[in-house]
Amino acid sequence: MNKNCGLIRAGVAVGALSVGVVGIANAEDNKAYLPGFCRATSGSITYGSYGEIYNASTSSSLSLNCPIVRENQLESVEEIEVTIRDRNANAGQDVSCHVRYRTPAGSVGTSSTTLTPGGGATSSGGFQSMELYGGDPDLFLTDFASIMLVCTLPPAASASSADRSAIFRYRVEENP
Protein backbone atom coordinates (compact mmCIF):
# COMPACT_ATOMS: atom_id res chain seq x y z
CA MET A 1 0.00 0.00 0.00
CA ASN A 2 2.75 2.43 1.00
CA LYS A 3 4.63 1.62 -2.15
CA ASN A 4 1.51 2.32 -4.21
CA CYS A 5 0.91 5.57 -2.42
CA GLY A 6 4.48 6.52 -3.09
CA LEU A 7 4.14 5.65 -6.75
CA ILE A 8 0.91 7.59 -7.12
CA ARG A 9 2.35 10.56 -5.24
CA ALA A 10 5.46 10.47 -7.38
CA GLY A 11 3.26 10.37 -10.47
CA VAL A 12 1.24 13.33 -9.29
CA ALA A 13 4.46 15.20 -8.42
CA VAL A 14 5.96 14.52 -11.83
CA GLY A 15 2.70 15.60 -13.47
CA ALA A 16 2.55 18.81 -11.43
CA LEU A 17 6.17 19.57 -12.17
CA SER A 18 5.61 18.92 -15.86
CA VAL A 19 2.67 21.32 -15.87
CA GLY A 20 4.81 23.90 -14.08
CA VAL A 21 7.73 23.49 -16.45
CA VAL A 22 5.46 23.74 -19.49
CA GLY A 23 3.81 26.82 -18.00
CA ILE A 24 7.12 28.50 -17.33
CA ALA A 25 8.38 27.62 -20.77
CA ASN A 26 5.30 29.18 -22.30
CA ALA A 27 5.54 32.35 -20.23
CA GLU A 28 9.22 32.97 -20.79
CA ASP A 29 10.45 34.76 -23.84
CA ASN A 30 14.04 35.16 -24.88
CA LYS A 31 15.19 36.94 -28.01
CA ALA A 32 18.67 37.62 -29.32
CA TYR A 33 19.05 40.54 -31.71
CA LEU A 34 21.60 41.66 -34.23
CA PRO A 35 22.86 45.18 -33.53
CA GLY A 36 22.14 45.80 -37.19
CA PHE A 37 18.65 46.71 -35.96
CA CYS A 38 20.05 49.70 -34.10
CA ARG A 39 20.24 53.24 -35.44
CA ALA A 40 22.79 55.88 -34.57
CA THR A 41 21.64 58.99 -32.70
CA SER A 42 25.15 60.44 -32.72
CA GLY A 43 28.34 59.32 -34.43
CA SER A 44 28.54 56.94 -37.38
CA ILE A 45 28.06 53.22 -37.54
CA THR A 46 30.56 50.80 -39.06
CA TYR A 47 28.93 47.43 -39.70
CA GLY A 48 30.73 44.09 -39.46
CA SER A 49 30.06 40.97 -41.50
CA TYR A 50 27.70 39.47 -38.89
CA GLY A 51 25.56 42.50 -38.14
CA GLU A 52 27.82 43.74 -35.36
CA ILE A 53 28.47 47.46 -34.98
CA TYR A 54 31.84 49.15 -34.46
CA ASN A 55 32.79 52.69 -33.62
CA ALA A 56 35.60 53.44 -36.06
CA SER A 57 35.95 57.07 -35.00
CA THR A 58 38.97 57.90 -32.87
CA SER A 59 37.39 61.13 -31.65
CA SER A 60 33.62 60.67 -31.21
CA SER A 61 31.43 58.31 -29.27
CA LEU A 62 28.74 56.37 -31.08
CA SER A 63 25.26 56.39 -29.51
CA LEU A 64 22.77 53.74 -30.57
CA ASN A 65 19.06 53.18 -30.12
CA CYS A 66 18.21 49.49 -30.44
CA PRO A 67 14.63 48.16 -30.53
CA ILE A 68 13.25 45.68 -28.03
CA VAL A 69 10.16 43.71 -29.02
CA ARG A 70 8.31 42.16 -26.13
CA GLU A 71 6.14 39.08 -26.59
CA ASN A 72 3.79 40.26 -23.85
CA GLN A 73 3.49 43.97 -23.23
CA LEU A 74 2.26 43.39 -19.70
CA GLU A 75 5.46 41.59 -18.75
CA SER A 76 8.47 43.47 -17.56
CA VAL A 77 11.94 42.92 -18.97
CA GLU A 78 13.76 40.52 -16.68
CA GLU A 79 17.23 40.73 -18.10
CA ILE A 80 19.17 42.20 -20.98
CA GLU A 81 22.55 40.82 -21.89
CA VAL A 82 24.73 42.76 -24.32
CA THR A 83 27.83 41.20 -25.85
CA ILE A 84 30.42 43.93 -26.32
CA ARG A 85 34.05 44.73 -26.80
CA ASP A 86 35.50 47.83 -25.15
CA ARG A 87 38.85 48.79 -26.64
CA ASN A 88 39.19 52.18 -24.93
CA ALA A 89 41.11 51.96 -21.66
CA ASN A 90 40.71 55.65 -20.77
CA ALA A 91 38.75 56.55 -17.67
CA GLY A 92 35.17 57.56 -18.42
CA GLN A 93 35.36 56.02 -21.89
CA ASP A 94 33.42 52.83 -21.25
CA VAL A 95 30.72 51.12 -23.22
CA SER A 96 27.50 52.10 -21.47
CA CYS A 97 23.98 50.77 -21.88
CA HIS A 98 20.59 51.44 -20.38
CA VAL A 99 16.95 50.96 -21.29
CA ARG A 100 14.71 53.84 -22.23
CA TYR A 101 10.96 53.68 -22.73
CA ARG A 102 7.87 55.74 -23.42
CA THR A 103 4.43 54.90 -22.06
CA PRO A 104 1.18 55.30 -24.01
CA ALA A 105 0.43 58.33 -21.83
CA GLY A 106 3.61 60.08 -23.01
CA SER A 107 5.72 59.60 -19.91
CA VAL A 108 9.32 58.57 -20.36
CA GLY A 109 11.65 56.54 -18.21
CA THR A 110 15.09 55.09 -18.07
CA SER A 111 16.74 52.22 -16.26
CA SER A 112 19.99 52.52 -14.38
CA THR A 113 23.07 52.64 -16.57
CA THR A 114 25.48 49.72 -16.85
CA LEU A 115 29.11 50.27 -17.81
CA THR A 116 31.78 47.95 -19.21
CA PRO A 117 32.21 45.18 -16.63
CA GLY A 118 35.41 45.81 -14.73
CA GLY A 119 35.60 49.32 -16.13
CA GLY A 120 38.58 48.53 -18.34
CA ALA A 121 39.33 47.63 -21.91
CA THR A 122 38.45 44.20 -23.25
CA SER A 123 41.38 42.19 -24.52
CA SER A 124 41.98 42.53 -28.23
CA GLY A 125 39.60 40.29 -30.13
CA GLY A 126 37.80 39.33 -26.93
CA PHE A 127 34.14 39.51 -26.01
CA GLN A 128 32.49 40.66 -22.82
CA SER A 129 29.03 40.05 -21.56
CA MET A 130 27.32 43.06 -20.06
CA GLU A 131 24.24 42.30 -17.99
CA LEU A 132 21.56 44.86 -17.32
CA TYR A 133 19.36 44.28 -14.25
CA GLY A 134 20.87 40.97 -13.15
CA GLY A 135 17.48 39.38 -12.80
CA ASP A 136 15.75 42.12 -10.85
CA PRO A 137 13.37 44.24 -12.92
CA ASP A 138 14.15 47.87 -12.23
CA LEU A 139 11.97 49.64 -14.74
CA PHE A 140 9.28 51.74 -13.20
CA LEU A 141 6.14 51.45 -15.31
CA THR A 142 6.41 49.70 -18.64
CA ASP A 143 3.00 48.21 -19.40
CA PHE A 144 2.38 48.88 -23.09
CA ALA A 145 5.42 51.11 -23.26
CA SER A 146 7.75 51.10 -26.25
CA ILE A 147 11.16 50.02 -25.03
CA MET A 148 14.61 50.40 -26.49
CA LEU A 149 18.16 49.65 -25.53
CA VAL A 150 20.44 52.68 -25.60
CA CYS A 151 24.16 52.01 -25.83
CA THR A 152 27.18 54.25 -26.29
CA LEU A 153 30.47 53.00 -27.73
CA PRO A 154 33.58 55.03 -26.84
CA PRO A 155 35.95 56.29 -29.53
CA ALA A 156 38.46 53.80 -30.92
CA ALA A 157 41.77 53.75 -29.09
CA SER A 158 43.62 53.93 -32.39
CA ALA A 159 42.99 53.79 -36.13
CA SER A 160 43.57 50.04 -36.05
CA SER A 161 40.40 48.01 -36.54
CA ALA A 162 41.45 45.86 -33.57
CA ASP A 163 41.04 48.92 -31.32
CA ARG A 164 37.42 49.64 -32.19
CA SER A 165 34.83 49.08 -29.53
CA ALA A 166 31.84 47.08 -30.66
CA ILE A 167 28.45 45.63 -29.85
CA PHE A 168 27.98 42.11 -31.21
CA ARG A 169 24.53 41.10 -30.04
CA TYR A 170 21.95 41.79 -27.41
CA ARG A 171 19.53 39.40 -25.77
CA VAL A 172 16.30 40.29 -24.03
CA GLU A 173 14.49 38.05 -21.57
CA GLU A 174 10.97 38.85 -20.50
CA ASN A 175 9.90 38.34 -16.94
CA PRO A 176 8.47 34.79 -16.83
Partner: protein, 235 residues
Protein backbone atom coordinates in the same frame (compact mmCIF):
# COMPACT_ATOMS: atom_id res chain seq x y z
CA UNK B 1 -52.61 -6.89 0.46
CA UNK B 2 -50.98 -4.65 3.00
CA UNK B 3 -48.92 -7.42 4.51
CA UNK B 4 -47.31 -8.43 1.26
CA UNK B 5 -45.26 -5.24 0.65
CA UNK B 6 -44.10 -5.20 4.25
CA UNK B 7 -42.96 -8.78 3.94
CA UNK B 8 -41.16 -7.90 0.67
CA UNK B 9 -39.51 -4.74 2.08
CA UNK B 10 -36.73 -6.51 4.01
CA UNK B 11 -36.01 -8.68 1.01
CA UNK B 12 -35.60 -5.64 -1.34
CA UNK B 13 -33.44 -3.93 1.24
CA UNK B 14 -31.28 -7.00 1.37
CA UNK B 15 -31.11 -7.00 -2.40
CA UNK B 16 -30.03 -3.34 -2.42
CA UNK B 17 -27.38 -3.98 0.18
CA UNK B 18 -26.23 -6.99 -1.78
CA UNK B 19 -26.01 -4.96 -4.98
CA UNK B 20 -24.13 -2.18 -3.23
CA UNK B 21 -21.73 -4.67 -1.75
CA UNK B 22 -21.24 -6.30 -5.13
CA UNK B 23 -20.36 -2.93 -6.64
CA UNK B 24 -18.01 -2.23 -3.75
CA UNK B 25 -16.40 -5.61 -4.18
CA UNK B 26 -15.99 -4.95 -7.86
CA UNK B 27 -14.33 -1.61 -7.21
CA UNK B 28 -12.11 -3.08 -4.53
CA UNK B 29 -11.23 -5.96 -6.81
CA UNK B 30 -10.32 -3.59 -9.63
CA UNK B 31 -8.16 -1.56 -7.30
CA UNK B 32 -6.43 -4.64 -6.02
CA UNK B 33 -5.93 -5.99 -9.52
CA UNK B 34 -4.41 -2.68 -10.63
CA UNK B 35 -2.12 -2.75 -7.63
CA UNK B 36 -1.03 -6.30 -8.44
CA UNK B 37 -0.29 -5.27 -12.00
CA UNK B 38 1.64 -2.21 -10.85
CA UNK B 39 3.67 -4.08 -8.30
CA UNK B 40 4.72 -6.88 -10.61
CA UNK B 41 6.82 -9.85 -9.57
CA UNK B 42 8.87 -8.07 -6.91
CA UNK B 43 5.94 -7.79 -4.57
CA UNK B 44 4.98 -10.70 -2.34
CA UNK B 45 1.46 -12.15 -2.60
CA UNK B 46 -1.32 -10.03 -1.10
CA UNK B 47 -2.06 -10.41 2.58
CA UNK B 48 -5.09 -12.37 3.66
CA UNK B 49 -7.49 -9.48 4.48
CA UNK B 50 -7.22 -8.10 0.93
CA UNK B 51 -7.88 -11.44 -0.78
CA UNK B 52 -10.84 -11.99 1.53
CA UNK B 53 -12.62 -9.13 -0.17
CA UNK B 54 -12.63 -11.13 -3.41
CA UNK B 55 -14.02 -14.22 -1.70
CA UNK B 56 -16.70 -12.19 0.02
CA UNK B 57 -18.91 -12.28 -3.08
CA UNK B 58 -20.65 -15.22 -1.44
CA UNK B 59 -22.36 -12.56 0.76
CA UNK B 60 -21.87 -14.58 3.94
CA UNK B 61 -22.22 -12.60 7.17
CA UNK B 62 -18.51 -12.64 7.95
CA UNK B 63 -17.71 -11.70 4.36
CA UNK B 64 -20.09 -8.73 4.60
CA UNK B 65 -18.29 -7.48 7.68
CA UNK B 66 -15.01 -7.93 5.94
CA UNK B 67 -16.26 -5.97 2.93
CA UNK B 68 -17.35 -3.11 5.13
CA UNK B 69 -13.91 -2.98 6.75
CA UNK B 70 -12.36 -3.14 3.31
CA UNK B 71 -14.52 -0.26 2.10
CA UNK B 72 -13.64 1.83 5.12
CA UNK B 73 -9.95 1.14 4.53
CA UNK B 74 -10.24 2.11 0.88
CA UNK B 75 -12.03 5.34 1.83
CA UNK B 76 -9.27 6.20 4.28
CA UNK B 77 -6.71 5.49 1.61
CA UNK B 78 -8.52 7.71 -0.89
CA UNK B 79 -8.73 10.52 1.66
CA UNK B 80 -5.00 10.16 2.29
CA UNK B 81 -4.25 10.35 -1.42
CA UNK B 82 -6.43 13.46 -1.78
CA UNK B 83 -4.67 15.24 1.07
CA UNK B 84 -1.31 14.20 -0.38
CA UNK B 85 -2.28 15.62 -3.75
CA UNK B 86 -3.40 18.88 -2.14
CA UNK B 87 -0.08 19.10 -0.32
CA UNK B 88 1.76 18.59 -3.61
CA UNK B 89 -0.26 21.33 -5.29
CA UNK B 90 0.44 23.66 -2.41
CA UNK B 91 4.16 22.89 -2.60
CA UNK B 92 4.00 23.66 -6.32
CA UNK B 93 2.44 27.06 -5.53
CA UNK B 94 -0.96 26.34 -7.04
CA UNK B 95 -4.08 26.49 -4.92
CA UNK B 96 -5.42 23.06 -4.05
CA UNK B 97 -8.86 22.22 -5.30
CA UNK B 98 -11.37 23.68 -2.93
CA UNK B 99 -8.78 25.75 -1.12
CA UNK B 100 -9.49 29.48 -0.79
CA UNK B 101 -7.46 31.72 -3.10
CA UNK B 102 -4.65 33.58 -1.41
CA UNK B 103 -4.34 37.02 -3.02
CA UNK B 104 -1.05 37.66 -1.24
CA UNK B 105 0.62 34.50 -2.50
CA UNK B 106 3.59 35.03 -4.75
CA UNK B 107 3.09 34.06 -8.35
CA UNK B 108 5.60 33.47 -11.08
CA UNK B 109 3.49 35.63 -13.34
CA UNK B 110 1.19 38.47 -12.30
CA UNK B 111 -2.00 37.22 -13.89
CA UNK B 112 -4.06 39.89 -12.15
CA UNK B 113 -2.95 42.44 -14.71
CA UNK B 114 -5.15 43.24 -17.61
CA UNK B 115 -4.92 45.60 -20.50
CA UNK B 116 -6.16 49.14 -19.91
CA UNK B 117 -9.32 49.72 -21.94
CA UNK B 118 -8.58 53.34 -22.72
CA UNK B 119 -5.96 56.03 -22.46
CA UNK B 120 -7.89 57.45 -19.50
CA UNK B 121 -7.59 54.12 -17.69
CA UNK B 122 -3.89 54.00 -18.44
CA UNK B 123 -3.50 57.57 -17.15
CA UNK B 124 -5.33 56.59 -13.97
CA UNK B 125 -2.99 53.64 -13.43
CA UNK B 126 0.01 55.85 -13.99
CA UNK B 127 -1.30 58.43 -11.54
CA UNK B 128 -1.86 55.72 -8.95
CA UNK B 129 1.71 54.48 -9.46
CA UNK B 130 2.99 58.04 -9.00
CA UNK B 131 0.96 58.43 -5.81
CA UNK B 132 2.73 55.34 -4.49
CA UNK B 133 6.07 56.90 -5.40
CA UNK B 134 5.07 60.08 -3.57
CA UNK B 135 4.12 58.00 -0.53
CA UNK B 136 7.49 56.25 -0.71
CA UNK B 137 9.30 59.58 -0.80
CA UNK B 138 7.25 60.90 2.11
CA UNK B 139 8.20 57.85 4.19
CA UNK B 140 11.93 58.19 3.51
CA UNK B 141 14.34 59.96 5.79
CA UNK B 142 16.71 62.25 3.93
CA UNK B 143 20.11 60.68 3.26
CA UNK B 144 22.33 63.71 2.74
CA UNK B 145 25.26 61.64 1.45
CA UNK B 146 23.17 60.83 -1.61
CA UNK B 147 20.48 63.51 -1.71
CA UNK B 148 22.71 66.61 -1.66
CA UNK B 149 24.96 65.73 -4.62
CA UNK B 150 21.96 64.32 -6.50
CA UNK B 151 19.98 67.52 -5.97
CA UNK B 152 22.92 69.51 -7.29
CA UNK B 153 23.09 67.29 -10.38
CA UNK B 154 19.36 67.56 -10.97
CA UNK B 155 19.47 71.36 -10.60
CA UNK B 156 22.36 71.47 -13.05
CA UNK B 157 20.49 69.35 -15.59
CA UNK B 158 17.28 71.36 -15.27
CA UNK B 159 18.73 74.83 -15.06
CA UNK B 160 20.90 74.14 -18.11
CA UNK B 161 17.72 74.59 -20.15
CA UNK B 162 16.65 78.25 -20.10
CA UNK B 163 13.11 77.41 -21.17
CA UNK B 164 12.58 75.14 -18.17
CA UNK B 165 11.78 76.42 -14.70
CA UNK B 166 12.33 74.41 -11.52
CA UNK B 167 9.29 74.71 -9.25
CA UNK B 168 10.27 72.31 -6.46
CA UNK B 169 12.84 69.63 -5.67
CA UNK B 170 12.85 67.13 -2.84
CA UNK B 171 15.07 64.11 -2.21
CA UNK B 172 14.84 61.31 0.36
CA UNK B 173 17.16 58.35 0.74
CA UNK B 174 16.49 56.58 -2.58
CA UNK B 175 14.23 58.89 -4.56
CA UNK B 176 14.01 62.52 -5.70
CA UNK B 177 10.99 64.36 -7.03
CA UNK B 178 11.11 67.58 -9.01
CA UNK B 179 8.31 69.71 -10.44
CA UNK B 180 9.27 71.66 -13.52
CA UNK B 181 7.56 73.90 -16.03
CA UNK B 182 8.40 74.22 -19.71
CA UNK B 183 7.86 77.14 -22.01
CA UNK B 184 6.91 74.99 -24.99
CA UNK B 185 6.39 71.45 -26.21
CA UNK B 186 9.76 71.65 -27.96
CA UNK B 187 11.55 72.61 -24.77
CA UNK B 188 9.70 69.87 -22.92
CA UNK B 189 10.86 67.24 -25.45
CA UNK B 190 14.40 68.57 -25.33
CA UNK B 191 14.28 68.50 -21.57
CA UNK B 192 13.30 64.82 -21.50
CA UNK B 193 16.36 63.82 -23.54
CA UNK B 194 18.62 66.18 -21.63
CA UNK B 195 17.65 64.88 -18.22
CA UNK B 196 17.70 61.21 -19.23
CA UNK B 197 21.19 61.68 -20.68
CA UNK B 198 22.54 63.46 -17.60
CA UNK B 199 24.63 61.73 -14.90
CA UNK B 200 21.88 62.59 -12.41
CA UNK B 201 19.72 59.82 -13.81
CA UNK B 202 22.33 57.05 -13.90
CA UNK B 203 20.22 55.16 -11.34
CA UNK B 204 17.09 55.50 -13.47
CA UNK B 205 14.35 58.09 -13.84
CA UNK B 206 10.71 58.55 -14.74
CA UNK B 207 9.27 61.76 -16.15
CA UNK B 208 5.58 62.52 -16.52
CA UNK B 209 4.90 65.52 -18.70
CA UNK B 210 1.41 66.98 -18.50
CA UNK B 211 -0.71 69.19 -20.66
CA UNK B 212 -1.01 72.76 -19.46
CA UNK B 213 -1.46 76.36 -20.53
CA UNK B 214 0.61 77.58 -23.48
CA UNK B 215 3.94 78.73 -22.11
CA UNK B 216 3.50 76.70 -18.94
CA UNK B 217 3.73 72.95 -19.46
CA UNK B 218 4.29 71.10 -16.18
CA UNK B 219 6.19 67.86 -15.71
CA UNK B 220 7.03 65.66 -12.76
CA UNK B 221 10.52 64.19 -12.60
CA UNK B 222 11.36 61.20 -10.41
CA UNK B 223 15.02 60.26 -10.07
CA UNK B 224 16.00 56.94 -8.51
CA UNK B 225 19.07 56.09 -6.54
CA UNK B 226 21.09 53.35 -8.25
CA UNK B 227 19.60 49.97 -7.35
CA UNK B 228 16.25 51.43 -6.21
CA UNK B 229 14.45 51.90 -9.50
CA UNK B 230 11.84 49.34 -8.62
CA UNK B 231 8.42 48.98 -10.05
CA UNK B 232 5.61 50.16 -7.77
CA UNK B 233 4.13 46.64 -7.99
CA UNK B 234 7.35 45.12 -6.71
CA UNK B 235 8.67 47.47 -4.02
Amino acid sequence: MQAAPSSRRPESTRLKIGAALAVAVGVAGAVLLARHVNQGAEVPPRAAPRSLSVRAVDSEGSGEQELRRELAALRRELAGLRSGQEALFQEAGAPAKGAPADPGASRPMDDTKSAPKSLEEFEAREQEALRRLDARLASEARDTAWSEPTEAEIRGAIEGDVSTRLISLECGATLCRAEVEHASVESQERFLDQVLDSPATRGGAFIKPSAGEPGSLPALVYVFRDGHNSSPREP
